[in-house]
């Protein structure tokens, strides 16, 4: 499903990624482990077209991401869900409106949007909060809304960058269970984290990164 061949990326003199080779299968749950500056975020950015690799090839379902025109990047992102550590919710829009955004930009019909948003909110357990504004929610609830927004258009791939970074251990556990549930429905999940607790709880394939290089790739991280 996702193939990276000799991917390298530098920001000025700083080498963020060096010669990355990686293959991720359909429906896989992959943890990208590594400390700060390991290159996890850069790798995720390459996957959703936020950055271009300096060298190498990145294929998603056989499509070369490096050769996408600026007009094609939004189309790629509509096939993905993205969850970030800082939630990135629109503070002056209700929970419902935030979750509906991917459908609105894709031009979905009103009835379709209502049905899918309700489904997504129900599956992450915040349907009763749909009329509230994000700042009135707890951190855990905000991350749930963010996940609902990421899965509302039934993406093939879900990318999550430190989704539990701002949460306490109890909420972390709840959020990880949500990712596992989404993965169980067939969505490929790539989750970047530095948290060993997450690795233990997920207990799937773990790819370890350090200074922009892949230094480990093993099944069942524990």
């Amino acid at each position: 499903m996702i193939q990276l061949f000799h991917i390298s990326k530098a920001y000025g003199r700083c080498q963020a990624l060096s010669d990355i080779n990686l293959e991720i299968g359909k429906g896989e749950f992959l943890l990208l482990m590594g400390g700060s500056g390991a290159g996890k975020t850069t790798l995720l950015k390459l996957l959703f077209g936020g950055e271009q690799a300096d060298e190498g090839q990145l294929l998603i379902q056989g499509q070369n991401i490096g050769k996408l025109s600026p007009r094609e990047v939004p189309l790629l992102r509509r096939r993905m869900g993205i969850v970030l550590q800082d939630f990135r919710l629109l503070p002056k829009r209700t929970v419902y409106e935030n979750v509906a955004l991917p459908l609105v930009v894709a031009g979905a019909s009103g009835a379709d949007t209502r049905r899918k948003v309700s489904e997504a909110l129900r599956s992450v357990g915040v349907e009763h909060k749909k009329e509230q504004l994000p700042p009135s929610l707890s951190a855990g609830e905000q991350q749930r809304v963010c996940i609902a927004r990421a899965i509302v258009n039934s993406p093939l791939i879900l990318l999550a960058d430190e989704p539990t970074g701002n949460l306490d251990p109890h909420l972390t556990s709840e959020i990880i269970e949500l990712f596992k549930m989404i993965n169980a429905r067939g969505t490929t999940v790539i989750l970047a984290t530095h948290d060993p607790q997450v690795m233990k709880q997920v207990n799937r394939r773990v790819v370890t990164m350090q200074h922009g290089k892949l230094v480990g790739d093993q099944q069942g991280g524990a």
């Binding site: 007009r71 939004p74 189309l75 509509r78 993205i82 609105v104 930009v105 031009g107 009103g110």
Partner: protein, 300 residues
Amino acid sequence: MRRLGYLLREAWANIRLNRTTSLVAVVTTGFTLACLGVFLLIYLNVRGMAASLASEIKVIVYLQENLSEAQIADLRQQLEREQAVAALSFVSKDQALADFREQFPSDFELLEGLGENPLPASFAVTLAPRFRSPEFVRRWAEQFKALPGVAQVEYSQDWVENLTGLLRNLEGLALSVGLILSVASVTIIGSTIRLTLHARRDEVQILRLVGASGSFLRLPYLIEGAMLGGAGSLLALGILKGGFELFRLKLGTASQLLGAQPWLSYFPGHVKGVLIVAGVLLGAVGSFLSIMRMREAASL
């Protein structure tokens, strides 16, 4: 349709969320366009006044003494054949004397002292509107002066030339002022949109993440600029209407005595429409320029 609704709602939300900035932009644009409107109003009124006066301007073809009826009829025919002549009336020597007596009763004794009537017969010629340019009137007068039986051709040359010159200057002034103020409006609305973009950079990035295309991100800001420009031009029309009515009120009796009142008119419907469209376009252009300048920084 749903996306269009979303884009319009977004534009309106942008304005509501940045109420103060939007209000400042509308008011400033309103006053800027009102300044432009003042010149336009003056220009249109002077042009209307000039057109009305120009229709009053007559070219007088004075005839030589002792012309026979046949010679006069021949001259009349020649004048009537002219394409430039819209109306023609013959003033006999007796009629000229009667007119003089009526207009200058106190000076009439001077003419009586001369014995015989010294006033010549004449044709009063009204030229068709498209033949009233100073150059044409001068050429036409010279051409007819050379005809046998014609003693003199007179017209209010200075008046025609001054009026045309005044209109030309006003046109130039209105155009220059209009250009400067249009640039000012574009800059003001552009700055407002830039502030909005700065304030909403995070939001733009979020929309990018969920797959919004460039045009989807840019359109609300273009619509917002157009809305601000349109609101500014409506405000300008309101200011001008208020000012115009106040001016007419102040002018009051004096203008009625001078007969100026009928010339004074506010913008006709189509000019109002043009002003509103101009405001909308200026707003959209200002917005477009800001988006282009901010494109990289705001991920547009």
